[in-house]
């Protein structure tokens, strides 16, 4: 094998147990959670210290070998699928130490491979709160969360990953060590390079450490579920709640197709005729929560909710959430292939977007269940199909094309949280501009002269001027 000398060198550097070069092992780093074709990397390395990580990048830069950083490989846009068969995959899973949780200054210092849920649990054990909660948090890495700017259910009130990044350390494409941000709330030392690394999808640098902001946890919460016979009314309720100056920590919705499928599967007695259900949770101080919950209930009824169920205790709250928890698992079981999208529109455009999705699904004869974060207009239209059926899959792709067109026309975006990767790169220019693409490419070329960091992702570095 052409690589055998290089593999040996990495084995000496990292230990044999941290270099995977067998065919079987390599094939398991050829995919991620996106519905895309796999590309098998040349080999895979797993540094166990920051210092090793830096040395690996230097070595790969010197050899001119493309690199793809991989956290948990749960991204939905192909960000960790190797660009070429020469690519070396760098794993961060052995860099998984929580270095510090500072309860006085409210931050945590972590290595990039720390699992999101592990950080959240460690922080909770110290009486603090790390709010970003992507659906994949039980496995996703903080490095991956930063590189994708992952969102989650709590986005409306608490924001997304970028709102919790205080500082980032990373290696640039040459292996140079870069630090930006700090452990302080304020820091204006130099460019906001930490900000630049957020949602960079492994194209600008390899994150080696991050300082994440923590907040005090809310002391109380209350949940309710409302049924609507009309999507428009549900959207008005969402707007109405926010007009009352209430920011629920979660404001989720399920469309009729999802409701029916969840009920078919779980028999939990959901309103099968409802056009939508909203799940709303408010949190904060107990008195505030009581006021907010009462106001929410009032708005829901005023906007024509056909029924409102308020959870009286923790057990009932768990029950109300069951429908939302089951949404993806149930949709995923309907057909072999599940294409989970995340087109996002301004809140007020949700009814228009939902109508468009319904029309598109009829026009292309594809089964789409939609649920998502109504509070921030972040929809998850989920296309249920069988990718082995070429004709059907072509219709799904055409439907997705058209859906993105509509989202952009409604002043929305291709991707609220799943990223561009290679999956959505072709739509980038439509949402932004030619200038944006060229600017991004020039930026990349300046920082990554050999074009080694995830070269085909986002705006491909090799594309023309």
């Amino acid at each position: 094998m052409a690589n055998s000398a290089l593999i040996k060198e990495f084995e000496e550097m990292l230990g044999k147990e941290n270099v995977f070069s067998s065919e079987a092992d390599r094939r398991t780093y050829a995919y991620d959670a996106a519905v895309l074709n796999p590309v098998v990397p040349a080999f895979v390395i797993r540094p166990t210290t920051t210092e090793q990580l830096g040395k690996c990048v230097v070595k790969l830069y010197n050899e001119g070998i493309p690199m793809t950083v991989r956290g948990a490989g749960t991204n939905l846009s192909g960000g960790t699928i190797p660009d070429t068969s020469d690519t070396v995959v760098i794993l961060t899973c052995a860099l998984n130490r929580i270095l510090e949780i500072n309860t006085n200054d409210l931050y945590a210092v972590v290595e990039p491979g720390v699992v999101t849920a592990d950080l959240a649990a460690a922080v909770a054990a110290k009486g603090l709160f790390y709010p970003p909660d992507p659906g994949s948090m039980s496995v996703s890495s903080i490095g991956g969360n930063i590189a994708e700017n992952a969102g989650g259910l709590r986005g409306l009130k608490y924001g997304v990953t970028k709102d919790y990044v205080m500082g980032v350390e990373f290696f640039d494409s040459t292996g140079g060590w870069v630090r930006s941000g700090s452990r302080t709330v304020k820091c204006v030392t130099g460019y906001n390079l930490a900000g630049m690394l957020i949602q960079s999808e492994g194209t600008l640098g390899v994150i080696s450490q991050a300082v994440m902001k923590l907040v005090p946890p809310p002391s109380a919460s209350r949940a309710c579920l409302a049924e609507f016979d009309d999507m428009q009314k549900a959207a008005e309720a969402v707007a109405g709640i926010i007009a009352e100056h209430i920011l629920p920590c979660t404001l989720e919705f399920l469309d009729n197709n999802t409701i029916v499928k969840v009920d078919d599967f779980t028999h939990i007695g959901l309103p099968r005729n409802a056009a939508a259900i909203l799940l709303i949770e408010v949190d904060g101080h107990p008195a505030q929560v009581a006021d907010d919950a009462a106001a929410v209930e009032r708005v829901l009824k005023a906007c024509g909710a056909t029924a409102v169920h308020v959870a009286k205790d923790a057990a009932e709250k768990t029950q109300l959430w069951e429908a939302r928890r089951q949404a993806l698992p149930v949709l995923a079981r309907v057909k072999p292939t599940t294409v989970l999208e995340d087109a996002t529109v301004p809140r007020s455009q949700i009814p228009a977007m939902m109508q468009a999705i319904t029309d598109i699904s009829k026009k292309y004869r594809v089964d789409v269940g939609t649920f998502g974060h109504a509070g921030d207009g972040n929809l998850h239209p989920t296309f249920l199909c069988d990718k082995r059926d070429k004709e059907e899959y072509a219709r799904v792709e055409a439907a997705i094309d058209e859906m993105f067109d509509v989202a952009i026309k409604l002043h929305g975006t291709l991707s609220g949280e799943h990223g561009i990767g290679t999956a959505k790169a072709k739509w980038m220019e439509k949402e932004t501009s030619r200038g944006t693409i060229l600017f991004s490419r020039r930026l990349r070329k300046a920082l990554d002269p050999k074009g080694l960091l995830n070269p085909t992702k986002l705006v491909g570095i090799l594309g023309g001027e």
Binding site: D25, V139, A332, R333
Partner: protein, 429 residues
């Protein structure tokens, strides 16, 4: 390599089930193997991808795929949490059988599964011969668990700390049982399982004591063969069928209300795998197995749900006990409250929950034979949780888990003993 085509076409029968995997990666959170190695090929997503690759001839190395499939405890944790509902265990077991029938079962496995476990008399004799001689082979470890290890047998069993072998197996002590019902009462088949019959004999005796106390009539045969799970998990479907034939032959002639076993793995095998493999014998066997499956229960479930045994307040000086959920029981069959209830039925113990009680202990049946180092590494996390709970006793309702717990606690010189929940309950009678 002419039959590579046959291998591929047999594997393609799994495709519909494999493609249901949406590669979300969720299984990383619960997979004990991934927890120990952090390698994608060790988690369900990776193994499913490799089987799929082999089926599509994208990889042409069945041995490499077989090796990866073997690095799995078949604990079912991945399947229990899989959002897509992928039937991962079926795929893994069928894939093992398909790949091994191509590669050929190694001679050692063949000897164990086809000869030993299917022919109980041979297994019995070898264990009986083994036992009186055991003081020559084994060295006492002076640990709370009364384990022994064997420098002489190291090549075979590694540095395992095992409980000393009993002098006589269960069936030699109690013989065949076929008690008449006590005035319209219940009658059960007690299926002790290989480990209950030959290794944890006192545990099995405690089960019989409890059944007697509750006036439940018992049927038990010295001729029961292994339930078949070791064969199936080693890809030996034929071995399973041979054993099943013997067991069906015995069971189809008995009148009873329930089959109870003190082993989570036996229970789940009888309930879930027997009907599947019986279909390979004939329709009649399949119908019998389906009927048996409905009547099969874990003994803790039987005691609590059928006989109504329930918890009591612990005494003031009660000693603390914790419980480890066997994967086959909790994830496979949803049995988790009953064994805990049984522990609470003894006022001499105060129940404390440990962290990650339902995380796999790392034994995985025959997995521990081939991957002892990994098994120990996974077991260490379980041990740490047991010790952190400060319990003086840890209970598990599966002999394989008990053996693993004893091994790992003994290696750490921990002062924690291991019991089956039925043993704990039997102490009150």
């Amino acid at each position: 390599m002419a039959d590579l085509k046959a291998l591929v076409s047999r594997l393609m029968t799994l495709e519909d089930r494999i493609i249901a995997c949406m590669r979300c990666g969720n299984c990383q959170a619960v997979c004990p193997m991934f927890g120990a190695t952090h390698m994608e090929a060790d988690v369900a997503r990776g193994k499913l991808a490799l089987v799929d690759d082999l089926a599509h001839e994208l990889i042409r190395d069945p041995q490499a795929v077989a090796d990866k499939l073997g690095r799995c405890l078949l604990c079912g944790s991945c399947q229990a949490g899989c959002p897509s509902g992928v039937k991962i265990m079926d795929v893994f077991m069928e894939a093992r059988e398909i790949v091994y029938s191509y590669l050929g079962l190694g001679p050692v496995k063949k000897a164990i599964f086809r000869v030993m476990l299917a022919k109980p008399w041979l297994f019995n004799i070898s264990m009986r011969v083994g036992s009186p001689a055991s003081h020559l082979l084994f060295r006492k470890n002076k640990t709370a668990q009364n384990t022994v290890s064997s420098p002489l047998l190291r090549p075979l069993i590694g540095d395992r700390h095992l409980r000393s072998l009993p002098v006589r197996p269960l069936h030699a002590i109690v013989g065949a049982l076929n008690e008449p019902r006590v005035s319209g009462g219940l009658k059960v088949v007690f299926f002790p399982g290989c480990m209950g019959d030959k290794y944890y004999v006192n545990m099995a005796l405690a089960c019989l004591k409890v059944l007697k106390h509750h006036q439940v009539a018992v049927f038990m045969s010295p001729d029961f063969a292994c339930c078949g799970i070791p064969a199936v998990s080693s890809g030996d479907g034929q071995g399973m069928v041979d054993e099943l034939r013997k067991n069906l032959d015995i069971l189809s002639k008995v009148d009873f209300d329930y089959i109870v076993t003190p082993c989570g793995s036996c229970t789940s095998t009888i309930k879930e795998l027997w009907p599947k493999y019986a279909a390979r014998i004939d329709d009649a066997a399949m119908h019998i197995s389906k009927a048996l499956s409905k009547k099969t229960m874990d003994i803790t479930q039987f005691l609590v749900d059928v006989l109504g045994v329930h918890g009591v307040e612990p005494r003031d000086n009660a000693i603390s006990i914790t419980y480890h959920d066997s994967c086959h029981l909790r994830k496979g069959l949803g049995v988790s409250s009953q064994p805990r209830e049984l522990l609470k039925a003894n006022s001499g113990y105060r129940f404390v929950e440990m962290k990650e009680a339902d995380r796999c202990c790392g034994c995985g049946g025959s997995f521990t034979l081939y991957h002892y180092d990994l098994s120990r590494a996974i077991g260490q996390r379980k041990r740490d949780n047991v010790v952190a709970s400060k319990a003086q006793v840890v209970a598990a309702a599966c002999p394989a888990c008990m053996m693993q717990l004893e091994d790992v606690l003994s290696h750490n010189k921990d002062d924690v003993t291991v019991k089956h929940p039925v043993e704990v309950y039997a102490e009150t009678l």
